[in-house]
């Protein structure tokens, strides 16, 4: 819909409506606001120093550790855990399993906000962010670079997520014609979105193929792209369970009774999916491990740390999912989901920070400023999420 096609009085109506909607609703003094507002303000102060005095003034980044917490946690992990959006789109639109439709919109919204905020946090980490458009426009395309692929696919996929979510926005703004047009595009967008996700989830892993001599051999393999892709599937599913559990409590008044009831059924299905993909992932890990004859690497602190990740945060939650689904133990499934999310976080930190340059004596630890800014990004995302779900029909009202 071109701008000319929209009458100016419609734009004025929307502007007024938007300003009206911007106003906060409900109580101001809530525990979440009391915690998040000071941290967001502190984060902004830190960012002022970051952009005037350089990255070194607030981060612990060094020549040995050019990627820190902002990349390793915000971007790498944030993107992996946002994988639920493309997995559920696949399940609902391609496989037509309509059971999961009631959690789809909120998952897409979570994915969209994750891409905007967490991969948006990349801008904070770039040394020369004013050149961020260079790989997109202009003539400096680094076709040889995996990062070029990742950058383009981030951008395109964020657009695809926005299109997938846009019917809800159009509905909120009372643009009925536009909503119909956008809805008709959903299947195409979803298919493109799944393809883009496969490529950039694995592409983030492929970036580390370039760091072969620097990553501990237990974490390095030429299959990192495959491992990153598969772990984004169960990481995303676990995140849907985790977020669904929180939303069911926090936004219980927005969720209809029928949906509330069918939520148990959905959790069982998601848990089953997570259990299966995690077992496949574990099988891949075991295969890579044995094929690479890495037995002797297990002896020593790095080996034990590797086992903590693979047994403690992959195999055990995998069995917990299976047990929980089989015996309808929702508590077990939720704990397994949390462990799985932690496991994906741990894996990304290991590849990107902990087992990276593992032989260097002065290791990298995030500074308190890096952690505050990360919390700021998370809280901002939650603020926007809360704003959207209390205004648009994201949760199923039935």
């Amino acid at each position: 819909m071109s701008a000319a096609a929209i009458p100016s009085n419609e734009l004025i109506r929307f502007a007024k409506f938007f300003l009206q909607e911007l106003k906060p609703r409900g109580k101001w003094i809530t525990p979440f606001n009391v915690i998040s507002i000071p941290i967001i303000l502190l984060g902004l102060v830190i960012l002022y120093f970051r952009f005037t005095r350089g990255l070194g003034s607030v981060t612990n980044l060094s020549q040995q550790y050019p990627f820190g917490f902002w990349i390793g946690f915000d971007v790498m992990t944030g993107v992996a855990l946002a994988g639920g959006a493309y997995v559920l789109c696949f399940v609902v639109y391609v496989l037509r399993l309509e059971k999961y439709h009631s959690v789809l919109k909120v998952t897409i919204l979570n994915g969209l906000l994750a891409y905007i905020f967490y991969s948006g946090a990349l801008v904070l980490d770039l040394g020369r962010p004013w050149h961020i458009v260079n790989p997109i426009i202009g003539n400096s395309f680094g076709y040889n670079s995996v990062l070029f692929l990742v950058a383009w696919h981030f951008l395109l996929y964020t657009g695809a997520l926005f299109l997938e979510f846009s019917p809800t926005i159009a509905e909120w703004a009372h643009w009925e014609k536009l909503r119909k047009l956008l809805t008709s595009m959903t299947l195409g967008t979803v298919i493109v979105g799944i393809t883009l996700s496969m490529l950039h989830q694995s592409g983030i892993g492929a970036m580390f193929l370039m760091a072969k001599p620097k990553i501990h051999p237990l974490w390095y393999s030429e299959y990192i792209p495959l491992l990153y892709f598969v772990s984004s599937i169960f990481g995303g599913l676990a995140m849907v369970i985790f977020e669904g559990t929180i939303s069911a409590k926090v936004f219980s008044d927005l969720i209809g009774a029928k949906t509330h009831h069918s939520h148990e059924d959905i959790i069982l299905g998601l848990g089953k999916g997570a259990a299966i993909t995690m077992f496949v992932y574990y099988f891949f890990l075991a295969f890579i491990f044995m094929h690479g004859e890495k037995w002797k690497l297990l002896n020593g602190p790095w080996g034990y740390w590797y086992l903590v990740e693979v047994i403690g945060f992959v195999l055990i939650p995998c069995f917990m999912f299976a047990y929980g689904v089989r015996n309808r133990r929702f508590g077990v499934i939720r704990v397994a989901a949390i462990m799985t999310v932690l496991g994906v976080i741990l894996n990304r930190q290991n590849v990107c920070l902990i087992a990276y340059n593992w032989y260097v004596p002065n290791k990298y630890y995030p500074s308190w400023q890096e952690i505050v800014v990360t919390l700021m990004v998370v809280f901002l995302e939650v603020w926007v999420f809360r704003w959207v779900v209390t205004r648009m029909s994201v949760f199923s009202k039935e």
Binding site: G54, R96, H101, L126, G127, R128, H131, K180
Partner: protein
């Protein structure tokens, strides 16, 4: 799935299909004539004139060579110094080793750079372009020799590394460090010629040199070559890098992108059609339109 949806899907995929050209790594053997420098560590006397000449040429920090006792520690190049000389105590006595960018034949940093800010020039030096760089530091992750350094202090940081005095080469001069060397430890020339000279020295003095020229094949071959009297792992070199040029590590992944970009949507469309069961056709309009199953 109707035809319109199909066309829409295909059009969007085409838009998403970023062109992939030039992703093949060059052939297994070097054919181009690139310039480089031969470093004979048996000749280096550790005077650090090269450090001073380098820093003066590039307006970097000029070390106080006579008084700073920098040889006491093993140093790394930094965002303030593109080259450093280190002293290693080995079985054959003190060995001085100059460290700087090796100007790989197929550089990891250039393969990693998404904006071609890191560039392998046709003459051979690997250069950095500040108008393109967005400061993502992926070159630092990728470089097997940990050469690119980043200015963490300052709002407008640069990636700092040796560019083999590219500006001087354009004027027909040699790199500043080569010109400043009083001990004839550095020799500038085309890599092919330097390899011949290096081999000649090794063959003429088999007892003086180890039978290896570092940089001949390391990481696919580098522009800078090193001769040594002791095994290279004793004088600060990584000897576990292999001989694969770095673009090779991601080549197959990059080649698979267009295949996935066209194959997966087709597969997904097929799945979508297959799962379209007859009894659901009646209500399919409802659920694709409203997004909520009635």
């Amino acid at each position: 799935m109707d035809r319109r949806q199909f066309l829409m899907a295909s059009a969007t995929v085409c838009a998403g299909g970023v062109p992939n050209v030039n992703i093949k790594a060059d052939d297994a053997k070097e054919t181009k004539e690139f310039v480089g420098v031969l470093v004979d560590t048996t000749r280096c006397i550790g005077c650090r004139s090269c450090e001073v000449a380098c820093s003066e040429t590039h307006n970097n920090y000029v070390p106080e060579v006579t008084s700073d006792n920098a040889l006491e520690n093993i140093r790394d190049t930094s965002e303030k110094q593109f080259t450093v000389v280190n002293r290693y105590v080995t079985e054959k006595g003190e060995v001085f080793v100059k460290k700087q960018c090796l100007h790989c034949w197929q550089p990891a940093c250039a393969a990693a750079c998404l904006v071609n800010a890191m560039l392998k020039t046709k003459e051979g030096p690997v250069t950095w372009d500040g108008d393109k760089c967005m400061g993502c530091r992926f070159c630092m992750i990728s470089c097997p020799f940990d050469i690119p350094k980043f200015e963490y202090s300052g709002w407008n940081p640069r990636i700092m590394k040796c560019n083999m005095c590219y500006e001087r080469l354009q004027e027909g001069k040699k790199p500043a460090c080569v010109e400043s060397c009083p001990a004839d430890a550095l020799m500038f020339g085309q890599k092919r010629e330097l390899m011949e000279i290096a081999r000649h020295r090794v063959y003429s003095h088999p007892d003086k040199y180890v039978h290896h020229i570092y940089g001949e094949n390391e990481a696919g071959g580098t522009g800078w070559l090193y001769l040594s009297a002791v095994p290279f792992n004793q004088i600060g070199f990584r000897t576990d890098l292999g001989t694969t040029p770095y673009p090779e590590y991601t080549r197959e992944f990059l080649i698979s992108i267009p295949l996935i970009e066209f194959g997966v949507p087709a597969f997904l469309l097929a799945l979508n059609t297959l799962t379209d069961r007859k009894d659901e056709l009646r209500k399919s309009d409802e659920w694709t339109e409203s997004g909520v199953e009635k």
